[in-house]
Every structure is written in structure tokens, then in C-alpha cells.
């Protein structure tokens, strides 16, 4: 994403509708959060948008948008058995031009964290190719819920970092569009007049008020000093050791590599994995360095808030709160971290 000067333009509500329609007509895969009513339970999924009217304007999707660039199953290789030998075939990542429309600013920020690890030292061909073909249009938040904590991790409900275009709701309808990159600019051009120049200083609808629950800057040091603190055992008592938090998390990128084959051919797949699962660190010998859930919980916290900043100069968390909402036993990360910041000397 080439950063340019942020252009500020406006869009009326009908103009946004026309923009989405134009994007869909252009053949792009347009994905956005949508309300789904199913068996009496409502949820928000990120799915192909048919029109702007289908976009869930409030709340956020259960899952993250990372599946668009880092899918839950990715084919890495294909091979065929040929006598004693193997015919190996490379795989081209399927990567249709994609627009993530109407995601939250926290979700947009997460791509930088994914990139930090997936392109570390060597470029991941699959992830990079998809990311290069993805444009992110985020909508800033006028509301937050009890799981949100973007302001505790150095961001804001109207943060434009990571968005190619950030749409901010105007007080009297329509949006301010902050176009930050050449990819965003390309959408403006595609929109053909849907975007208007800024006539006067826009009156924005107030962004969500979200007081920070803790100061993430103090965490790396505290965590480093209290590796064996009993807090990690206490906090993880109710943790069931599933992978829900890691899989809905927009910055989690841990994966496994699995072969699936029959007698003639096979494929090597990359699949999502989680440090919360017991098998993650199990050695073939039977030795497991993280055999207890408290060790795995601690790893999750430390990986995101101590090791990541140390190695990649960025937190491994954007404060979206998806982990907390998805957790079957309400492991609220904001609360746990606030407790850690308070309790650890």
C-alpha cells in the first residue's frame, strides 16, 4: 500500500449505495459484514455484499476479515506419485480482486500485524498475493461495546491506519471519505463522480467514546517481570482450551501444515491453528512444553503483548474484542489485561 497524502472527499448515502453497486459491477469480490437471522439468533457474518443496504451498520462481525487474505484452508502444493518418484506442482493462490467494505477500523489495522509475521524475512506468496489484490474500505465506529478496547492498544474508533479509504459518518447523513492510498484512489476513480470534493469543514457524527482500560505500553515490561505470576493460573481456570479466540482474531496467524493424499496424488495444506490447543506444542516423544492451560493462556497474552512488540515493533492485538465475544466462557481479554496491568507490580 503506497501511502499518499490523505485526500478528503464526501459521499452522500445514495452515493455510497452507488459506489458499492459499481464495485460489484466491476467484477470485484465485495465482502462486508451482514446481519444474518438464523434459528432465532442474530449474528453478523462477513460475506459477499449484494448491496450497501445489506451492510450491518452497527456492531461487528463475529469472525475477522482475515479469511480474505489468509483462508482457513490454503493449498500450498500438489503432488502426484510416479513410481519411486514424485511430480511436484506449484499452486497459484486464487486471488480475485477484493474489496472489504464496511469493516471496522480495528479490522483494517490488523492487516499490518498479519503482514509483520507472514512476510517476516521471506515473502509468503499466498498471503502477499491476496493482500495485494485487496482494498480495505472501513467505516469508523460511532458506538463501542463492552468487549471493545481499541483505545487501550494505541488506536481510536476513527483510526484510518490500515484503511485504503476510511468512511466517517457525518452528523447530517452521508460520509467523509479519507482516501489514504493509491489503491483507495483507484476506487475513487472507479466510482466516477460518486465522491464529491469537500465544500466546507465537515461536521462529523461523534466517534464512539471509549476510555482506555489499560496502558498497553506498560505491559511488555510487566509481563517480562512476572512470567511465573499466579495470575495466569487464576485467569485461565475457566478457559476450555478451544481455538475460538485465535480463529476469530484478525491478527492471529498461527498455522499448521497437513498432507492429504490417496494412492495416486496428494496436496499439502495450510490450516489455521492455535497456541491454545494442547496439541500445538506436543512433541512426537510425548513431551509437551505447554501441557497446562495456564501456560497456553500465558503464551497467548505474552505472544501478543510482549513478544510481538519485541520482534515486530507492533502489538499483536488491535482491541477489536472478537475473541471475547466468541469465547464460550467469556474470557474477556480487555478485563484480563486491565487486571494484569493493575495487579502486576
Amino acid at each position: 500500500m503506497v501511502a499518499t497524502m490523505v485526500d478528503r472527499l464526501t459521499l452522500s448515502d445514495s452515493a455510497v449505495d452507488a459506489l458499492v453497486a459499481a464495485l460489484i459491477r466491476s467484477g470485484r469480490r465485495v465482502l462486508g459484514p451482514q446481519l444474518v437471522r438464523s434459528q432465532g439468533q442474530d449474528r453478523i457474518d462477513i460475506a459477499p455484499l449484494a448491496s450497501f443496504a445489506d451492510l450491518a451498520r452497527d456492531g461487528q462481525a463475529v469472525a475477522s476479515a482475515k479469511g480474505a487474505v489468509f483462508p482457513k484452508v490454503e493449498r500450498l502444493l500438489h503432488y502426484r506419485y510416479a513410481g519411486k518418484s514424485i511430480e511436484l506442482a506449484d499452486v497459484e493462490p486464487a486471488s480475485p480482486p477484493t474489496v472489504l467494505f464496511g469493516v471496522r477500523p480495528c479490522e483494517a489495522r490488523a492487516f499490518a500485524a498479519l503482514q509483520a509475521v507472514l512476510n517476516w524475512d521471506s515473502e509468503d506468496k499466498f498471503f502477499s498475493h491476496r493482500l495485494a489484490n485487496t482494498t480495505v474500505v472501513a467505516i469508523s465506529c460511532t458506538e463501542a461495546d463492552a468487549s471493545c478496547f481499541c483505545t487501550s492498544v494505541g488506536s481510536r474508533p476513527d483510526d484510518g491506519q490500515g484503511s485504503d479509504i476510511l468512511l466517517c459518518r457525518l452528523a447530517h447523513g452521508g460520509y467523509l471519505a479519507k482516501v489514504a492510498t493509491s489503491r483507495g484512489q483507484a476506487l475513487v476513480e472507479l466510482g466516477q463522480g460518486v465522491f464529491q470534493a469537500l465544500a466546507a469543514e465537515p461536521e462529523l457524527a461523534p466517534a464512539a467514546a471509549l476510555a482506555p482500560a489499560f496502558d498497553a505500553k506498560t505491559l511488555p515490561q510487566k509481563l517480562a517481570a512476572h512470567f511465573d505470576h499466579p495470575l495466569w493460573v487464576e485467569q485461565s481456570l475457566r478457559c476450555l482450551g478451544c481455538g475460538a479466540c485465535a480463529f476469530v482474531c484478525p491478527t492471529c496467524a498461527c498455522f499448521s501444515i497437513e498432507d492429504e493424499a490417496d494412492s495416486r496424488q496428494g496436496q499439502r495444506l495450510r490450516t489455521w491453528d492455535s497456541c491454545g490447543l494442547r496439541l500445538f506444542t506436543l512433541h512426537a516423544s510425548g513431551h509437551n512444553p505447554r501441557d497446562r492451560q495456564s501456560q497456553r493462556w500465558r503464551q497467548r497474552v505474552y505472544h501478543k503483548f510482549a513478544y510481538y512488540p519485541d520482534r515486530f515493533q507492533t502489538l499483536g492485538c488491535v482491541g477489536c474484542g472478537k475473541c471475547s465475544r466468541a469465547c464460550p466462557v467469556d474470557m474477556n481479554l480487555k478485563q484480563h489485561l486491565a487486571e494484569a496491568a493493575r495487579t502486576l507490580p
Binding site: 486471488s95 506468496k125 499439502r268 512433541h283 510482549a306 513478544y307 520482534r311
Partner: protein, 281 residues
């Protein structure tokens, strides 16, 4: 639209050129690159490892057990333990497997120049040290004395038996082999005793000496205090860690221990490095 970025997960195809049955369940493969050009271009340094594929089953992590001074092939030694190693153990000379690498950091031979070297290994942990031992032997004039202390449970469990015989005859190195408890070979003339005790008896000098230790956790745990008592400093003791790995590239998260990724910051660590990590390996 195709991308020109190389696929980091695509392995080299390797032909099994030779198989040596080292010990019960333990084999060494000598592997040659199926593509001669790739073989000629291939470079690695001692200490590095790779991910070896049994196509259809998966990949497994082993060190490269041969020395980079020997061209035209690489070797790996593995014990049949799980799904992938069982499949590899079933293969014959001429079969094709995969290899991705080299990954990881290296033994800093340039820092060891002029020093005495003592290699201490137990059981199936000799393979990672075998690479660096041969590398040093092939550059023998750069180092002072070289000692290898190696032990296994029984004589039959000793790996690289032929090389041990050759090393024992070389005048430019000292080899001490021990078994504990042994008892399977009545004619055994080597030592009997646990490796840490043998090291204590040997009492190598710490002055101007580097110790390279690799073995099962219990052996390492008991050898380190012996070396400390002999005066070895924490930056003079090296080890190579095994860990659960998948990608070898620092991306899948599996080998993350503290701030370290064993596949990138390791597998070679000094004791000083290791003590800075949480004991989650």
C-alpha cells in the same frame, strides 16, 4: 494472474542414495538432489536443520547431520517415532522424499578458532553434533584439541558405530564412549556410566575451551552443573534445541518460546541465551 514470488513451502526433491540402520528404530539417509543443478547450488552451514517430507504423510524436522564441507549430498538421522518418521522408515534406496531448508542459525566456528572443543552427546542427540564434529575435523588446523564424549543406554543404541570406530583411531581427537547401563555386549571395552559422570571424571579444562552439549533433557540438566563446576562460562557452552516445528520460517508460531523462535534464533543457543528464555522447550 500468476505471482513470481517463490513458494517457500515447496521442497527440493531428494533421492535416497543410501540407508544406514544405526540402531533399533534409528536410520540415516544419505540424500542427493534429484535436480543436479539444485544440488550444486545448495549451501548450508553447520547447525542448520530442514523439514523432510514423506509425501502423503507430512513433514518432520531433523538437523542436517552431514558436514557442509562434504558436497553433493546431505544426510539426516532420525528415529521412527510417529506418522512421518514411520513412513520415512519404510522407504528404500532410490525413493524420493522432500527437503526444505536450510533453516535456523549456525554454530559460530569462527569464534572457536584456536580453542579446545569438547562435544558431549547422548543417544539420538549425536546427529546434530555429528555435522559440526565433521566440519571441525575437516578444518582441523583451526582448532586446538578436540574431544568427543558420547553415551547411550546400550552398545546397540550407539549411532554412527562405524564413525565412532574411525574417530577412536584418529590421533587428532580424543573419543570417549560410554554406555549406561549397557550390559548387552560382554566384550565392551569402552566406559560404563552416565555421560555427566564420565565428563566429571574426564575433568576437561575450561580454559580456552568451548563445550557443545546435546542430549535428552535429563542428560543436559545434569551435565550443565558439571561444566559449571569445571569453570565453563555460560557463553562457552553451546547446545542445539529440538522443538515442535512446522514451517521452519518463523511464521507458524509453533516453536515460539519467549521472544525466541527456535527455527530462526536457534536451534543453536549458548547457555546464556537459553537462560533468558522461559523453560518451555
Amino acid at each position: 494472474m500468476a505471482t513470481t514470488t517463490p513458494n517457500s513451502y515447496k521442497p527440493y526433491l531428494m533421492r535416497i542414495a543410501a540407508i544406514t540402520k544405526e540402531a533399533p528404530g534409528v536410520r540415516t539417509f544419505r540424500l542427493e538432489f534429484a535436480d543436479a543443478g539444485e544440488g550444486t547450488a545448495f549451501r548450508f552451514a553447520t547447525g542448520q536443520f530442514g523439514l523432510y517430507s514423506a509425501f502423503g504423510e507430512g513433514e518432520s524436522t531433523f538437523c542436517i547431520a552431514s558436514s557442509p564441507t562434504r558436497k553433493g549430498y546431505i544426510e539426516c538421522t532420525f528415529r521412527e517415532t510417529g506418522r512421518v518418521t514411520a513412513s520415512l522408515a519404510d522407504k528404500d534406496v532410490g525413493d524420493i522424499i522432500g527437503f526444505r531448508g536450510p533453516y535456523g542459525n549456525v554454530f559460530p566456528l569462527e569464534r572457536w578458532q584456536g580453542k579446545h572443543l569438547i562435544f558431549i552427546a547422548g543417544g539420538i542427540a549425536l546427529p546434530p553434533l555429528r555435522s559440526v564434529i565433521w566440519n571441525c575435523l575437516d578444518l582441523r588446523e583451526r582448532f586446538a584439541t578436540m574431544t568427543v564424549v558420547y553415551g547411550a543406554r546400550t552398545v546397540n543404541d550407539l549411532v554412527y558405530k562405524h564413525e565412532l570406530a574411525d574417530w577412536g583411531k584418529r590421533p587428532d581427537m580424543k573419543l570417549v564412549v560410554t554406555v549406561d547401563p549397557g550390559g548387552d555386549e560382554p566384550g565392551w571395552t569402552g566406559k560404563v556410566g552416565f555421560v555427566p559422570h564420565i565428563v566429571e571424571q574426564l575433568a576437561p579444562t575450561a580454559a580456552n575451551t568451548v563445550a557443545i552439549v546435546c542430549g535428552p533433557p535429563i542428560m543436559i540438566k545434569l551435565t550443565l552443573p558439571v561444566l559449571a563446576k569445571l569453570g565453563f562460562g555460560k557463553t562457552e557452552i553451546y547446545t542445539t534445541l529440538e522443538n515442535r516445528m512446522k514451517c521452519g520460517l518463523g511464521k507458524c508460531g509453533r516453536c515460539n518460546t519467549g521472544r525466541s523462535f527456535v527455527c530462526k534464533d536457534g536451534p543453536v543457543y549458548t547457555l546464556a541465551d537459553l537462560e533468558r528464555l522461559p523453560a518451555e522447550y
